[in-house]
């Protein structure tokens, strides 16, 4: 990490990753699937990624930006955080500035919304794959206890308990029962 060239490498990789992720997904939670494949193992560890997703849904404000900040910081310090942030902000900003100026033209060209409509099912499938990997690697060795926690969380969210409370509770249960 002290090698200067390596830091430049990390920052470049962070920039491209977040640029790509923010061009191919429409909001924070939906970018998790793609981000997992791009970042885990290369830029951050599995545990850091889970912290990033968990905490970004717990803290107020945009999930996508918080994910970018956390992963950027974990991979490349403060400069990593700001590079990731910039890369996440660029695509929507440029697009919105474009749209507000040519709004009426774009509305007739429905291919943009068709593109996003086509993305949606693929993103959901990707998210299910990612959810399995996060579950398997994050708590696979905890056996039935992990399954119990997962099913309980799913039920709680199904019945509209706020996600941030479910995630914090699950984490605290982990601190009590799963810290070796």
């Amino acid at each position: 990490m002290r090698d200067r060239l390596k830091i430049v490498d990390i920052l470049t990789q962070l920039f491209w990753t977040f640029l790509k992720v923010n061009l191919l997904s429409t909001s924070g939670p939906t970018s998790v699937g793609l981000l997992y494949h791009e970042a885990v193992g290369k830029l951050v560890t599995e545990a850091q990624f889970i912290q990033a997703v968990g905490l970004s849904s717990v803290l107020p404000g945009s999930d996508a930006l918080q994910l970018a900040m956390y992963i950027g910081y974990a991979a490349g310090g403060i400069s990593g955080g700001f590079v990731s942030l910039t890369a996440s902000i660029l695509p929507p900003t440029i697009i919105i500035l474009g749209v507000t100026m040519i709004l009426h033209r774009l509305r007739r060209e429905s291919w943009v919304s068709n593109f996003v409509q086509g993305l949606a099912p693929a993103i959901s499938i990707l998210m299910v794959f990612t959810a399995w990997k996060i579950f398997d690697k994050g708590s696979g060795d905890t056996g039935w206890f992990g399954w119990l926690l997962g099913i309980a969380s799913l039920l709680a969210m199904w019945f509209k308990l706020p996600e941030r409370i479910v995630i914090i509770l699950a984490g605290m249960i982990g601190v009590i029962f799963l810290s070796q």
């Binding site: 924070g28 939670p29 086509g118 579950f135």
Partner: protein
Amino acid sequence: MNQTNFSVWLKLLWLFLKVNLLSPSGPASIGLLYKEAVGTIMTEDQFVEAVGFSNVLPGSEALKLAMFVGFAAGGVPGVFTALLGAILPPTLMMLVVSAVLQQFQEEHWLKGFVAGMSPAVAALIIVVAWELFRVGQTKIIGRRTFIIAALSVTALWFDLPSPLVLLGAGILGVILFR
């Protein structure tokens, strides 16, 4: 004139600082923003249009919505003011949290916390995935959606790179939903 412009920007900045401190994510901020912005900054029609566009265009939802509202209130400078207000609270908070947590990566309690959190995070992802899959589906586009979903499962099963899968799905969407 400059005086009034300045007060518009200040109001925008304050509005988005508030909304982003009080709501956990993009979709959740819509309700709060509606109350604050409709009638004062933009009409209901403009707001509905902004929400529609935010859902359809790539990138973070909360940011896009903020920029639309900012544009309606104060043109291009309004866009950047709203952006600033939307970016500052979540990222500064996260910067502090990540800086603190990186010091504890090897602690046992943090490992326990992650082990406990991961089933819940997985559950959260599944719930969001389900909502995304269901949103705006009518019976007619249901079959096409299903085709794309099935193809995605196959592609991901064989470890095709996920950006390629998504790009392919988007292009298929352009062809199928025409």
